[in-house]
């Protein structure tokens, strides 16, 4: 099953994309392509991000101060913006993970007992 996530107006799914990006960046700083590729490989391509929509989300989080960005030359010798989690972003990630856990637990309870 392939699910397409888009960064649109605030709703549950946008929060999900944020969470994925933050979690991915928590391990190491990456550029846009790297983030997309990492999510893709971890989820075995089952959760596919429409890659263009990654950038509005990245810029929004950058403006919110959760991540910071700087220009860098990649291993393939291309100029790209390297995104890095800030302290604020780390806090945000913990929060969101917690919320997601609660949501997942709640949903699975419903699935089990309803």
């Amino acid at each position: 099953m392939t699910k397409v996530l888009r960064a649109k107006k605030p709703d549950g799914l946008q929060g999900t994309l944020d969470l994925l990006v933050l979690k991915t960046l928590n391990r190491e700083p990456l550029h846009g392509y790297g983030i997309a590729a990492r999510i893709q490989s971890i989820t075995d391509d089952s959760l596919r991000v429409e890659e263009g929509s990654l950038y509005p989300a990245l810029h929004r989080m950058e403006q919110a101060g959760w991540i910071s960005a700087e220009w860098q030359v990649t291993a393939t010798n291309r100029k790209a913006r390297l995104y890095r989690l800030t302290r604020e972003g780390r806090k945000r990630l913990t929060e969101q993970e917690h919320k997601w856990g609660q949501l997942a637990a709640a949903v699975s309870k419903v699935l089990r007992f309803a």
Binding site: E50, E51, G52, P56, H59, R78, A80
Partner: protein, 805 residues
């Protein structure tokens, strides 16, 4: 700060799109590389990578929104668009901006005056707690302030015990003194103050220290910054120097800041009361002020003052003095008299702004009609109503912004003019500036005006547009009616202002035309003073004045010259209290010690009896002259000449009473102001009752202005130690006495004319517009035989109808 960066991105429209393009290009390239490595052709790889990216245009838009403040961006675009469209119609823009600027400018200038004079705190510590304690004496119904709170330090102690809700109290008197400088004598305003004066007032001292308890018995002085600069060049070097005032030398202990203007802005020196009382025991009519304790109220203070006044009054004035005490705040004392006039003018500029706004509404409505087709087209192309209203608002904001800027410039210039003009009677002019609170006010007024003016057109626009879409560019009937109503109300408001101005003008004319009882043209007056450095004896005074008059009468161009201790319209230096037999209260009268020619020089009319002669001296029986009203009051309708009365006299500083005979009755004269009733006056021959500081009055055959230098010179030759001040034509003094009413009438007239001009422009706009719209109809009418006159009549009739409404 995210939004700061977004703001910067918005304003400088920097390279955000480029960043996005760069990032996504790199991203695509990586993916293409990957697919090519997996064995796809380059074309296939690119195609697939693009598909993976999704809708890049949408992503770019969203990224841009994330990086900027989109509403601000819209607003910026709207404003740029507004500026462009406004530039295309320079006539409309100029009139709209000018209208607003005049309205806002007048309001800003007026507010800066009201704020500076009425609201800005005085430059004294906690100035709201400074209160003046005044005593009034009931003189036959007229309440006159009396001084003499304090004849001995014990008096002040009594007050201190009575006024418990005051932290401290102080007394002061306003006196004139002769300042001796290298180029002669000069009269300055001084104040004799108790040792608590400066600590109670808490005003600013520019250098040195204020007079305190240690200085009370020493010849020390605090001088004003102005005087320090004049005498010593700068402030710092003045401390420790000496000044000679009325032949006594004082050590300068401190310089007061120019903001310390108590008791008057003209006060140049403050001397200790203790010292003055030792050298001149009869000195000074003191007044009192104090600083209220925190939390105490004016009512408390008043109650205490009444009790204290009754307890202490009889010691000074005798048991039947009818004294009462009142308390007034320093602010009310200084600015109370101009408050009503300022509020009236403020209301007038408010009305002016209303007219300006109405004009703006009219202009905007007309403009909107002219653009109805354009707007209809844009709506049809998908612009939302909200967006159109936003654009319209942007246009109005641009107009308001320009209006405020030009208005503030107008205000700054008018305040500068006002300060240069220095209208007499307007206190605290130095506190008037165009500063932050004033600017905030002006911006608020601008916003309010813009919003007010934009509301009607913004809500009319929808209807007019649908009308325009179907019926060409014509207003709906409702909009036309609104314009007519607005026009009519503009005219009405400006008429109200005009009527107000003309009423003020008329009362001003009446005031200036007031018969003060003397002939004011061709008269020069001066104030003479022989009392500096010690009061002259009666004989010396008579001799010195005689010498001066003799010299002056020899000056070519002088018809006659005299002296008297009062000068119409508003100066009298002696007051007498008279009591009619059987009455319980005193009458107050101006006591005028006058030489025979005083009456001639002022052109007073002799009604019966005779004037004084040179023989009315101490060797002859005491005589007096009364004005008509006083004579009637005391002697009834019968011929009063020859009747006698006991009156107070002062001989060489000693007070007594003497019976004196009435020898003549003269016309009524005003000595206490143009708008006051004529005073009761009792005239005494100068030789029988001298005055140390009389007024010189000189009737001239030539332009009085020309004689001023000659008079100064001759007085100086006749008597070197005579101090002369205020040598001026009597006409000018009368003009000055009406200065405040003149100021407010002139200002109101200007405001009213501006409003009228605006209303006329508005009316012109409406009529011109309706004529332009009906040119077809008019054409048909003329083709059918209407003559030019008929059409003219029709248009004029409509305009007149509006004006009448």
């Amino acid at each position: 700060m995210g939004w700061m960066r977004r703001l910067r991105n918005t304003v400088f429209a920097s390279d955000i799109d480029e960043t996005f393009a760069h990032e996504t290009r790199a991203h695509l390239a990586e993916r293409v590389d990957l697919y090519v490595r997996r064995g796809m052709t380059h074309e296939e790889a690119e195609e697939k990578a693009r598909r993976r990216m999704g809708n890049l245009t949408l992503a770019r838009e969203q990224t841009r929104d994330a990086d900027t403040l989109p509403w601000l961006d819209d607003l910026g675009r709207d404003i740029r668009y507004a500026v462009r469209t406004l530039r295309r119609t320079p006539g409309f823009t100029a009139i709209a901006v000018l209208t607003l600027a005049l309205g806002i400018g007048a309001n800003t200038a007026m507010f800066s005056v009201v704020y500076g004079i009425l609201l800005r705190p005085f430059p004294y510590g906690a100035s709201d707690r400074l209160l003046l304690v005044q005593r009034e004496r009931d003189l036959n119904g007229a309440h006159r302030p009396v001084s003499a709170f304090f004849n001995s330090p014990a008096d002040l102690d009594g007050w201190r015990q009575g006024l418990k809700s005051f932290d401290s109290i102080a007394v002061y008197s306003a006196e004139v003194a002769a300042l001796s400088t290298s180029d002669g004598n000069d009269v300055i305003n001084t104040s004799i103050v108790s040792d608590t004066f400066f600590s109670t007032l808490a005003g600013r001292i520019a250098a040195g220290r204020p007079i305190g308890t240690v200085d009370d018995l020493t010849p020390s002085v605090v001088i004003s910054e102005r005087l320090a600069r004049r005498l010593f060049g700068n402030i710092q070097s003045a401390v420790g120097r000496y000044v000679t005032l009325s032949s006594r030398t004082y050590a300068v202990v401190g310089i007061s800041d120019s903001s310390l203007q108590f008791p008057s802005p003209k006060t140049d020196a403050w001397m200790p009361a203790g010292f003055m009382k030792t050298v001149s025991p009869t000195c000074c009519g003191f007044r009192m002020f104090g600083r209220l304790k925190p939390g105490a109220t004016i009512e408390q203070a008043t109650a205490e003052a009444v009790v204290a006044a009754n307890a202490l009054g009889p010691t000074v004035f005798g048991p039947r003095a009818n004294l009462r005490a009142t308390i007034v705040s320093l602010r009310d004392q200084v600015v109370g008299s101009v408050r009503p006039a300022l509020f009236m003018l403020f209301a007038a500029v408010g009305l002016l702004l209303l007219v300006a706004c109405a004009n703006l509404v009219n202009l905007l409505l007309a403009r909107q009609m002219a653009r109805a087709r354009e707007i209809a087209t844009r709506r049809a192309l998908g612009a939302s109503r909200a967006r159109l209203v936003m654009q319209f608002m942007a246009e109005v904001s641009v107009l308001a912004g320009a209006g405020v800027s030009v208005g503030v410039a107008i205000a700054i210039e008018s305040v500068r003019l006002l300060k240069r003009w220095q209208p007499p009677g307007l206190p605290r002019l130095d506190a008037v500036h165009v500063d932050i609170p004033v600017l905030l006010f002006s911006i608020a007024v601008g916003l309010l005006a813009a919003i007010g003016a934009a509301t009607i057109p913004a809500f009319r626009s929808g209807r007019d547009i649908s009308a325009a879409t179907f019926g060409g560019s014509r207003m709906t009937g409702a909009t036309r009616r609104i314009r007519h109503v607005i026009c009519a109300s503009e005219l009405a408001v400006s008429l109200v202002l005009l009527i107000g101005a003309s009423l003020l003008g008329r009362s001003l004319v009446r005031l200036m035309g007031t018969d003060i009882g003397v002939t004011t043209d061709h008269v020069v007056t001066a104030s003479l003073n022989m009392a500096f450095g010690g009061r002259p004896s009666d004989a010396q005074a008579v001799e010195r004045i005689g010498r001066v008059l003799q010299r002056i009468e020899a000056v070519p161009g002088v018809t006659t010259a005299g002296v008297g201790s009062a000068l119409p319209p508003n100066a009298s230096r002696l007051t007498l209290t008279l009591r009619r037999d059987g009455d319980s209260v005193d009458y107050l009268a101006a006591g005028v010690a006058a030489t025979p020619d005083y009456f001639h020089a002022l052109g007073m009319r002799l009604i019966s009896g005779r004037l004084f002669t040179v023989q009315d001296d101490l060797d002859h029986p005491p005589v007096m002259i009364m004005n008509l009203d006083t004579a009637r009051r005391f002697f009834g309708q019968d011929n009063p000449v020859g009747r006698t009365m006991s009156l107070p006299v002062s001989r060489n500083g000693k007070n007594g009473r003497e019976d004196m005979t009435l020898v003549g009755v003269v016309s009524n004269v005003k000595y206490s102001g143009l708008d006051a009733a004529a005073d009761d006056a009792v005239y005494r021959p100068f030789k029988q009752q001298t005055a140390p500081a009389p007024f010189l009055v000189v009737r001239t055959a030539v332009d009085p202005q020309m004689l001023i230098p000659a008079l100064r010179r001759e007085i100086n030759i006749a008597d070197r130690s005579m101090v002369v001040a205020d040598v001026r034509p009597l006409d000018a003094i009368v003009l000055d006495a009406a200065a405040q009413p003149r100021f407010r009438s002139a200002l109101l007239a200007v405001i009213a004319l501006l409003a009228l001009a605006m209303a006329v422009v508005g009316l012109y706009g409406v009529v011109a517009y309706s004529v332009a719209q009906r040119s077809q109809e008019i054409g048909v009418r003329m083709a059918l035989g209407a003559r030019e006159r008929d059409v003219l009549q029709m248009v004029l009739g409509e305009g007149a109808l509006m004006a009448c409404a």
